[in-house]
């Protein structure tokens, strides 16, 4: 019996110990401590180390998390504490042993950066709190206490009185909400939505003028990725075709605008708007050329073919063979920006406007498409191709249409992207771009516009803002995807379908609170 308690806790402590060791080896501990210090307003110059207090804080939080997660939900408080104690001690012992090695490195003055690029002696010192030989003991004590604290926190927060308290708060909030709803004057109910849109519109108009070019750059990037996400969602989310080479269509748009609107290599200078249109058209043509031969494929096979297509386009753009036509590996510079009524319209504020307007238009088009007959046909094809066919849906044309429309969005985003950067080259259209867009859908939520916006912000906006984690971007990315798959498999903001009742039979009757009557309309 007792063994059943000890062994999982031991394993957990060991696992987290190894996790912490890896953190230290790649210097992630210092980065987290730096971010914590920023949270508390300390100004850390790039490249310097944060105060040791924040390292202590990070380790305490880590230990508390271990204690929290080790205490099983249904165990008695004493058992929980015991589990946390075992896990905390294990964690402390593992890291204590690791500390001995680290301390030896410091004492002998060995620099391991030859093998572990990130592990500077200063980082090691910081991790050891600069206490040399007694730091293993410090860590042992710290983790044990922190783990117990975490467990204690769980006991308190999950106790009955606490849950009753939370329930009280929740019902109080709901009561307030209902009251507020009842007291809202009619004109707010009627025009509230328009007022909200007006407010957002005003904000979107004035904010780009106020908040500076860096924020405009970030918002523009997020906006472009929202457009790309919507395009890919038509292909992947609505019509169910797994597409991995989406960047190819993006490249079509970008290169069309670049080649038609830059002094070199052709000097056509057609102007931004017509070349943007041609870019969209080129993306659609590429989609048809790709789509016709591969429409018969599904799932993994389609994914591989489209992935290959994306790479072929990129390599073609880069090839020496086409250098005179596409500018080769160096790309195309000095792309001329758009004009509006004869005036140049290409400041960073103007681009933010263009992107926001295009984004809103894309959302509207997407919403119309989703609810249309074609949208329904796509859903049917996605669910069961054979049955969709048996109800009279033309599979070929519908799949091809989805591909073309998705590509058109990518071409549009690509054109704006190239003009905004005044440059485009093969490296703007790597496989990673396609992966990023797909990840936005997965992280945010397939078929959900708020999800795509949230996903684009999480994956493109946050890394821009949190420049510190640049080196750890892929690690955080991977970790985020794993956590998402476990905790929110449908995305951060999953798609909702308002007209659906859940078949909960008896449950509905039991919980038949007055608020739920609205479902049955």
């Amino acid at each position: 019996m007792n063994k059943n308690l000890v062994s999982p806790s031991l394993k957990r402590g060991l696992t987290f110990g190894i996790v912490m060791i890896i953190f230290v080896l790649i210097d992630l501990d210092v980065m987290v401590a730096t971010m914590l210090s920023k949270l508390f307003g300390a100004n850390v110059i790039r490249g310097s180390l944060p105060d040791v207090r924040f390292m202590v804080l990070f380790l305490i939080l880590f230990g508390m998390f271990v204690g929290w997660s080790t205490s099983s939900d249904d165990a008695k408080p004493t058992t929980k504490l015991f589990q946390a104690l075992v896990a905390g001690l294990t964690l402390g012992v593992v890291l204590g042993l690791f500390d001995l090695i680290l301390n030896q490195l410091i004492v002998t003055g060995t620099d391991v950066r030859k093998y572990l690029a990130a592990l500077a002696p200063e980082s090691i010192r910081l991790f050891l709190f600069d206490q040399g030989a007694i730091s293993p003991l410090l860590h042992l004590g710290l983790f044990t206490v922190a783990s117990l604290l975490g467990s204690l926190m769980k006991i308190l927060l999950k106790s009955e009185s606490a849950s009753r308290f939370f329930k009280g708060v929740k019902s109080g909030y709901q009561g307030l909400k209902a009251k507020a709803q009842a007291n809202t004057p009619n004109w707010v109910k009627k025009y509230g939505k328009f007022l909200l849109f007006l407010l957002i519109g005003l904000l979107a108009f004035f904010l780009p003028r106020i908040w500076g070019s860096y924020n405009n750059y970030v918002v523009g990037l997020v906006g472009l990725y929202v457009i790309l996400g919507i395009g890919l969602n038509i292909i992947v989310g609505l019509s169910g075709q797994l597409m991995l080479g989406f960047a190819a269509f993006f490249a079509m748009g970008a290169y069309s605008v670049a080649l038609l609107n830059a002094p070199l290599p052709h000097g056509i200078m057609l102007g931004f708007w017509p070349s943007l249109l041609i870019g969209i058209l080129m993306a659609v043509v590429a989609a048809v050329l790709l789509g016709l031969p591969v429409m018969g494929m599904r799932g993994d096979y389609l994914a591989i073919v489209t992935l290959g297509f994306g790479e072929i386009i990129r390599i073609l753009l880069k090839s020496d063979l086409l250098t005179s036509f596409t500018g080769g590996p160096r790309g195309i510079q000095d792309i001329r920006g758009p004009t509006l009524f004869g005036q140049p319209f290409s400041s960073d504020i103007d681009y933010t406007y263009i992107i926001l307007v295009v984004m809103v238009l894309s959302i509207i088009i997407y919403k119309r498409l989703e609810r249309s007959r074609t949208g329904r046909a796509w859903l049917a094809v996605k669910e069961d191709t054979k049955v969709a066919q048996a109800t009279g849906v033309n599979i070929m044309t519908n799949k091809l249409l989805a591909l073309c429309l998705g590509a058109a969005f990518a071409g549009l985003a690509g054109g704006i992207f190239a003009a905004r950067n005044q440059f485009t080259g093969p490296n703007d259209h790597q496989l990673m771009v396609s992966m990023n867009i797909l990840s936005i859908l997965i992280v945010g939520g397939v078929n959900s516009i708020p999800g795509i916006i949230l996903g684009a912000f999480t994956l493109k906006g946050l890394p821009e803002i949190l420049r510190e984690i640049e080196n750890y971007r892929l690690l955080v990315f991977g970790g985020l995807l794993v956590v998402m798959m476990i905790s929110r498999p449908e995305g951060l903001w999953p798609a909702t379908r308002p007209n659906i009742e859940k078949d909960e039979g008896n449950k509905l009757k039991e919980d038949g609170a007055p608020g739920e009557g609205g479902l049955n309309d």
């Binding site: 007959r373 329904r376 046909a377 859903l379 049917a380 669910e383 069961d384 054979k386 049955v387 969709a388 066919q389 048996a390 109800t391 009279g392 849906v393 033309n394 379908r497 007209n499 659906i500 009742e501 859940k502 078949d503």
Partner: protein
């Protein structure tokens, strides 16, 4: 109404239909019975255009529809209700019905049809906003049939409508099929439950390994010793 002549279909190396000929008059229920792998579903899939015929001909209302694309065949009034109740699980009951009327563009007609289906299958009306996947097996089969009827077919191809249903539901489904037929729709019924199928059908064909081995009035077939032994489970 429908005339199939010397139909041959292959799945790769397997010769699934080996020269099948049969016909159906307007207003009839014709049942195809046979063991697993006899080619019953293959025959239906070929008629509705989901499988290509290598040789042979399918004539429908004096028109050659062999190897026509499935969406065109649906528009001509032949609708298949596939085996295993393949409803769209992630769509609501209402959306499933609307999908059934995909070939209909007249919104009023669709609304009328939906009303008609809800009258015929009241349980679907009650559950119109539920996801198809949350329905019970019997309800899903009702929905599959209703979805097939949404396009106002002249000829309904039913593939194993009683599969996996409880005896009470089976009876209900067969009553429904009979009433569909009474309102003027011709039916081709593929069934493993030969007993029930033969009771409501006008004529029957027995398929064995891709060939028709017996045909005749349903009553005659019901009394045929070979059929009794092989399909009706009487020794």
């Amino acid at each position: 109404m429908l005339k199939v002549t010397d139909l041959n279909v292959h799945y790769g190396a397997i010769h699934a239909l080996q020269g099948v000929s049969f016909n159906l008059q307007e207003g009839e229920i014709v049942t195809l019975i046979g063991a697993n792998g006899a080619g019953k579903s293959t025959l239906l899939n070929t008629i509705s255009g989901l499988l290509p015929a290598v040789k042979g001909k399918v004539d429908y209302l004096d028109e050659d529809i062999t190897n026509l694309e499935p969406q065109k065949i649906v528009r001509k009034g032949i609708v298949q209700v596939p085996e295993g109740r393949k409803i769209f699980a992630a769509m609501t009951v209402m959306e499933n019905l609307e999908m059934g009327a995909f070939t209909v563009t007249d919104k009023k007609l669709i609304a009328d049809k939906v009303e008609e289906m809800f009258a015929k299958f009241p349980i679907l009306g009650k559950r119109s906003k539920q996801l198809g996947g949350t329905l019970s097996g019997g309800e899903q089969q009702m929905l599959a049939i209703a979805r097939g009827l949404m396009a106002s077919p002249k000829l309904l191809l039913l593939d194993e409508p009683s599969m996996g249903l409880s005896p009470v539901l089976v009876e209900q489904i067969f009553d429904t099929i009979q009433s569909i037929n009474n309102s003027g729709t011709s039916v081709i019924l593929v069934e493993q439950n030969a007993q029930m199928a033969l009771v409501i059908a006008h004529r029957a064909y027995v398929l064995e390994t891709g060939k028709i081995v017996l045909e005749g009035d349903a009553q005659e077939v019901l009394q045929n010793p070979m059929v009794i032994e092989a399909y009706l489970g009487v020794t």
